[in-house]
C-alpha cells in the first residue's frame, strides 16, 4: 500500500508516495540519498540512525516514514552551513577528536543537540547518561563528552 507523504527535511519540503512499511531511515537514505544517517542495529539500541524530528532526537530505524508526515526532520546533512562551515557541535566533535570511524557520529551529534536543547549546561554525568542510547565502539566516549561540553558552551554564547 502506498502512502502520500509531505514533510520538511533539512529545511526543504519533500513530498513522496511511499510503501506503507518504509522505515524513515530507508526513506532518508534511499529516496532522498541522505546517506549520513546510518543503520547499526535492528533493536533501536545503537542510535546510529538518530535524526531530529521536530527538534527531538529519535531513532529513524524504529519509525515508519508515514508516521512523520508533516514533521520537520533534521539529518546530519542539515547542520553545516552551505559553505561547509560546521555547526558548533560538529566543530566541537572535530576539535575534541570526538569521532574515529565516523559511523556513529551523525547520530551522536544529533543526540547531543537534543541533549543541549534540554540541558544547556549539562555536567559530565548528565551527558554520559543522556548518550546512553548511542553506541560508539571506537572512542571510549571520553572525547565525545568533551565535545558535547564544548559544543554546548559555544552554542550558548
Amino acid at each position: 500500500m502506498s502512502i502520500p507523504l509531505s514533510l520538511t527535511v533539512n529545511g526543504k519540503t519533500v513530498t513522496a508516495d511511499v510503501d506503507a512499511r518504509t522505515l524513515l531511515v530507508d526513506f532518508l537514505r534511499n529516496d532522498l540519498a541522505l546517506t549520513g544517517t546510518h543503520v547499526g542495529c535492528d533493536t533501536a539500541q545503537c542510535g546510529a540512525c538518530t535524526v531530529l524530528v521536530d527538534g527531538r532526537a529519535i531513532k529513524s530505524c524504529n519509525v515508519l516514514a508515514a508516521q512523520v508526515s508533516g514533521a520537520r526532520i533534521t539529518t546530519i546533512e542539515g547542520l553545516a552551513a552551505a559553505d561547509g562551515t560546521l555547526h558548533p557541535m560538529q566543530a566541537a566533535f572535530k576539535e575534541c577528536h570526538g569521532l574515529q570511524c565516523g559511523f556513529c557520529t551523525p547520530g551522536m551529534v544529533l543526540s547531543a543537540l537534543d541533549l543541549v536543547a534540554h540541558h544547556p549546561h549539562a555536567d559530565e554525568r548528565t551527558i554520559r547518561e543522556a548518550l546512553e542510547g548511542n553506541f560508539c565502539r571506537c572512542t571510549g566516549y571520553q572525547n565525545i563528552v568533551k565535545a558535547v561540553q564544548m559544543g554546548a558552551a559555544t552554542m550558548s554564547k
Binding site: R21, L34, T35, G36, T37, H38, V39, G40, C41, D42, T43, Q45, C46, A48, T75, I76, E77, L79, A80, G84, L86, Q90, F93, K94, E95, H97, L99, Q100, C101, G102, F103, C104, T105, P106, V109, E124, R125, I127, R128, E129, L131, E132, N134, F135, C136, R137, C138, T139, G140, Y141, Q142, N143, I144, V145
Partner: protein, 794 residues
C-alpha cells in the same frame, strides 16, 4: 633530525577526515549505489549442528522478484575459505584443517552457518522467498564449550578433526620449567576463563559485488580492513580468478577491531553469483546476523602456575590453555592462540623459563579469530592475573612484585621466542601510579568503607608485540602470507603529493597521521598531501591494518618511498644547481648546495622531473613517483602499566570503575591526540570485556543467547569513567619512525587491571577469585559464597 622537531610531526593536528564524517558525506560500503542492483540474502542455519537431508527451493524460485537461488551444491568450482596460518602440532603433524564451505554442504555446524543465498529485486522479496525455502535438517547433538568438546563421546564436528581437535601445540622449555618448579619456594596458581566476545563494529559488514562482461572483471566494495588480502585469498584460493580481473575497494569502513580482516562467505558467494546473474549484488548484515556470522574473539580456558622464590622472584611459568576456534578455521584463527599468545607470556618480566601448551578445539559456535589485541590480551590476562596472585600469596605490594621482576637490560631474549628491543617498564609504572594517585588510595578506600562500599586497586603491566614480522620467520612458523607493507609516493608535476598506502583506515585517522609524516619529512604543507587507501585498483599492494601495524610498518613503507623520492630529487637538484649530487642537502622542503644559499624548492624539482627540459635525461628517468615495500626486522613492543580503581556495592554486586590510569610507551608519537583516542577506545573495549561483555551459548541447544544489543552488554557512555592517560617514550630501535603502535594497548592492558582491582576490593570479604565479566550477579554470588564459606568454616 628528531621525530618531534619536524613540522607537523608530533603535533595534535585535527583530523582531515572529520569534515566528511561530520557532515554525513562519508562513503561507506552501503552508501555506494550501482545501476541494476539486486539484493542478496542469506538463509542461515537455525541449528547448532545438523545434517542437511534436502533443500527444496522450488516455491521460493517462483516467488515474486526472485532472480536466483543458490545452495552449496550450486557453487561449482568454488573452493572452501582458507586459513592463512599453518600450525604444526607437538606431534609434528600439521593442524587438522577441515573444509570451510562458502555455503554449507551436507552439514551445518553453527547457528548462523549460511546455507542458501537468495537473490531478488528487493531485500523484502529476498526475505519473503527465504521463508519458502524448505531445508530438511536432521538435528544432531551439539557442543559449544571447549571442556565439553574434548570429552569422550562429545558430538564430533568434522571427520577431519577426531576428538574435535585442531591441534595441540607447545612453546618453551618444559624440562627447565619442571626443574624450576621442583625447587620453588611457592607456586601461585590461577584458573581463568577469557570470555568470548563479539567485536561489534558499529557499521555492520556489507558488500556490493559486480561483474563487467566488457572485460570479464569483478569489482567488490566491501567492509574490509585489508582489501589486497581479501582479493588474494578470494582469487587464488577460493574462486580461481586472476587477481588482474578483481578489484576490491574498502571505502570508509565503520570500525573493524579485527572482525573485518577475514575473507567471509557472503562476499565470496556474491562475487561468484554477480557473474551468473550479471547484476551488481548488495548485502548488508543486520545486527542479529552480525552476531552469528562475524568472527568472535577470545574464548580461552587456562590454568597457569608461577613458581617463585621467597622474595617473589619469578622462576618459571607453566601455562595450559584450551582455545575455542569455533566451527571452522577463520582466516587467521590458528595463529591467535599460539604465535600471538604464547610468545607474550614473558610479559615485562625476566621469568627464566616458560612453557605453554595450547589445544585448539572445534565447537558448534561462530568461528573465533583476532579481536582487538588478538592473543595478546589473553596472554596479558594470564601473566597479570598470576603476577597479582604472587603478590597476594606472598604479601608483597603489587607494584613491588612487578618491580622485582622487570626486565631492565635490552635487547632481551625471552624464553618464548621474542627479542624485546627496548623499553622502560619502571618509567611507565611510576607514571601510572602518579596518574592513579596510588598514594591517596588508602584514604579513598577508608572513605568508601564509611559509605559501605568496597574499594580496590588493580595493576596490569602489559607488553604486546605489534607490527608482526619478519616475513621469513613468520613463514617458518607457518604463515601463508608475507607481513610487509607497501607505500607509493607520487609527486605530481605541480608539487602536490599523492600517497598510496596498503594500510587501511577504519577509524585510525591515517589520512591525518600519514600526511603529517609526509609533510614533515618533505617540509611541505600538509594540505598538499593526499592519502589514498583501501583500493586494490589504485594501490600497488598491501597487507592492510591489523595488529597495531599501520604506522610502524605501513608508515615505514611510506618513509622508505620518501627516501627514494628525496634521493632522486637530489640528483635532479644537482643537475639544476650544477653541483655534485653528494653536495646536495635536503631540509625544510629545499634542496641546497651544502654551505651555500643556492637551492631549489621541492616544487621546482618536481616540475623539472615532469617537464624535463633542463634534466639529465641520459642518466635519469623523468617523473617523481616511487614505491617501497618494507618488511620489518622485528616486532615492535609497546608496553605500559594500567591501574584501575573500582568501588563495589556489596549489597548489589555492582562494580563501578571510579578511576582508570594508563601510562603507555608507544615509541615516538606522530599525533598525540589520535594516540590518546586509540587508548581511550581500547580501554573501553577492555573494560567492556572485564565488566560487561559476555557471549553466551546455550549449552544444550547451541543457540546464541546473547544475540543482540538487548542481550549483549556493550559499554555505554555511563559505564565508563574519564581515563587518565600518559605516555613515556623509548623509541623503537628498528624502524625509522621509532614507532611501536598504539591501537590495541588499551584492550590488552585493561582487563586484568580491572579484575585485579575487583579482587583487591573483595579480599576483605573473603573472595579469592572471579571470572570476567565481573557482572553484578557474579560479584554478588561470589560475596555470598565467600560469606557462606566463612560461616561454614566458623
Amino acid at each position: 633530525m628528531g621525530a618531534n622537531d619536524s613540522g607537523p610531526i608530533g603535533q595534535a593536528v585535527r583530523r582531515r577526515e572529520d569534515q566528511r564524517f561530520l557532515t554525513g558525506a562519508g562513503q561507506y560500503t552501503n552508501d555506494v549505489v550501482m545501476a541494476r542492483e539486486a539484493c542478496a540474502y542469506f538463509l542461515r542455519s537455525p541449528h547448532a549442528h545438523a545434517r542437511i537431508r534436502s533443500i527444496d527451493s522450488k516455491d521460493a524460485k517462483a516467488a515474486p522478484g526472485v532472480v536466483a537461488i543458490y545452495t552449496g551444491e550450486d557453487l561449482v568450482g568454488v573452493n572452501g575459505l582458507p586459513c592463512g596460518w599453518l600450525i604444526t602440532g607437538t606431534d609434528g603433524k600439521p593442524m587438522n584443517e577441515p573444509p570451510h564451505p562458502v555455503l554449507a554442504k551436507g552439514k551445518v555446524r553453527h547457528v548462523g552457518d549460511p546455507v542458501v543465498m537468495i537473490v531478488a529485486e528487493t531485500l523484502n522479496q529476498a526475505k519473503d522467498a527465504a521463508e519458502l525455502v524448505v531445508v530438511d535438517y536432521e538435528v544432531l547433538p551439539s557442543v559449544v564449550n571447549v571442556v565439553d568438546a574434548l570429552k569422550p563421546g562429545a558430538p564430533q564436528l568434522h571427520d577431519e578433526a577426531p576428538g574435535n581437535r585442531c591441534y595441540t601445540w607447545a612453546l618453551g622449555d618444559q624440562a627447565a620449567v619442571d626443574a624450576a618448579f621442583a625447587k620453588a619456594h611457592h607456586v601461585a596458581k590461577v584458573d581463568i576463563v577469557n570470555n568470548r566476545l563479539v567485536p561489534n563494529a558499529i557499521e555492520p559488514r556489507a558488500a556490493l559485488a559486480s561483474y563487467s562482461r566488457a572485460d570479464e572483471s569483478y569489482t567488490l566494495y566491501v567492509t574490509s580492513q585489508n582489501p589486497h588480502v581479501e582479493r588474494l585469498l578470494m582469487t587464488a584460493f577460493v574462486l580461481g580468478l586472476p587477481e588482474t580481473k578483481v578489484r576490491v575497494i574498502a571505502p570508509d569502513v565503520g570500525g573493524g577491531f579485527g572482525s573485518k580482516i577475514y575473507l567471509y562467505a557472503e562476499e565470496t558467494a556474491m562475487m561468484w553469483a554477480s557473474k551468473h546473474v550479471n547484476r551488481p549484488l548488495r548485502w548488508v548484515a543486520e545486527r542479529s546476523e552480525s552476531f552469528i556470522s562475524d568472527a568472535h574473539g577470545r574464548d580461552h580456558v587456562t590454568h597457569a602456575e608461577m613458581a617463585v622464590d621467597k622474595d617473589g622472584k619469578f622462576l618459571a611459568l607453566r601455562v595450559t590453555t584450551t582455545a575455542n576456534v569455533g566451527a571452522y578455521l577463520s582466516t587467521f584463527a590458528s595463529c591467535i592462540p599460539t604465535i600471538l599468545y604464547a610468545t607474550l607470556l614473558a610479559g615485562q618480566y625476566a621469568t627464566p623459563a616458560i612453557h605453554c601448551e595450547v589445544t585448539a578445539v572445534f565447537t558448534n559456535t561462530v568461528p573465533v579469530d583476532a579481536y582487538r589485541g588478538a592473543g595478546r590480551p589473553e596472554a596479558t590476562y594470564v601473566v597479570e592475573r598470576v603476577a597479582n596472585q604472587v603478590g597476594v600469596d606472598l604479601g608483597i605490594a603489587q607494584d613491588e612484585v612487578r618491580r622485582r621482576n622487570f626486565i631492565r637490560t635490552f635487547p632481551y631474549v625471552t624464553p618464548v621466542a621474542l627479542t624485546y628491543d627496548t623499553g622502560n617498564y619502571d618509567a611507565t609504572l611510576d607514571e601510572a601510579m602518579r596518574l592513579a594517585d596510588v598514594a591517596g588510595f588508602a584514604v579513598r578506600k577508608a572513605e568508601a568503607a564509611k559509605r559501605g562500599k568496597l574499594r580496590g586497586l588493580g595493576y596490569s603491566s602489559y607488553i604486546e608485540a605489534c607490527g608482526l614480522a619478519p616475513s621469513n620467520i613468520a613463514g617458518a612458523l607457518g604463515a601463508r602470507a608475507g607481513l610487509y607493507e607497501a607505500g607509493q609516493v607520487r609527486v605530481n608535476p605541480t608539487g602536490g603529493v599523492t600517497v598510496f598506502t596498503g594500510s587501511h583506515s577504519h577509524g585510525q585517522g591515517h589520512e591525518t597521521t600519514f600526511a603529517q609524516v609526509v609533510a614533515g619529512r618533505l617540509g611541505i604543507d600538509i594540505a598538499s598531501v593526499e592519502i589514498v587507501h583501501g583500493d586494490t585498483g589504485r594501490i600497488p599492494f598491501g597487507m592492510g591494518t591489523y595488529g597495531s601495524r599501520s604506522l610502524a610498518v605501513g608508515g615505514t613503507a611510506i618513509v622508505k618511498a620518501l627516501d627514494k623520492i628525496v634521493a632522486k630529487g637530489k640528483k635532479i637538484a644537482a643537475h639544476l644547481l650544477e653541483a655534485a649530487e653528494a653536495d646536495i642537502e635536503f631540509a625544510d622542503g629545499k634542496f641546497t648546495v651544502a654551505g651555500t644559499d643556492r637551492s631549489k624548492a621541492f616544487g621546482e624539482v618536481a616540475l623539472a622531473a615532469y617537464v624535463p627540459h633542463n634534466y639529465p635525461l641520459d642518466k635519469l628517468e623523468p617523473g617523481l613517483d616511487e614505491t617501497a615495500f618494507y618488511d620489518p626486522t622485528n616486532f615492535t613492543y609497546p608496553a605500559g602499566t594500567h591501574i584501575c580503581e573500582v568501588e563495589i556495592d556489596p549489597e548489589t554486586g555492582v562494580t563501578e570503575v571510579v578511576a582508570f590510569a594508563a601510562c603507555d610507551d608507544f615509541g615516538n608519537i606522530i599525533n598525540p591526540m589520535i594516540v590518546e583516542g586509540q587508548v581511550h577506545g581500547g580501554l573501553a573495549q577492555g573494560i567492556g570485556q572485564a565488566l560487561l561483555e559476555q557471549c553466551v551459548y546455550d549449552r544444550s541447544s547451541g543457540q546464541l543467547v546473547s544475540g543482540s544489543f538487548m542481550d549483549y552488554a556493550m559499554p555505554r557512555a555511563d559505564d565508563l569513567p574519564s581515563f587518565k592517560v600518559g605516555t613515556k617514550v623509548t623509541p623503537c630501535t628498528h624502524n625509522p619512525l621509532g614507532a611501536k603502535g598504539c591501537g590495541e594497548a588499551g584492550a590488552i592492558g585493561s582487563p586484568p587491571a580491572l579484575i585485579n582491582a575487583v579482587l583487591d576490593a573483595l579480599a576483605s570479604v573473603g573472595v579469592k577469585d572471579i571470572q570476567m565479566p565481573a557482572s553484578p550477579h557474579r560479584v554478588w554470588q561470589a560475596i555470598q559464597a565467600a560469606k557462606a564459606g566463612t560461616a561454614a568454616a566458623a
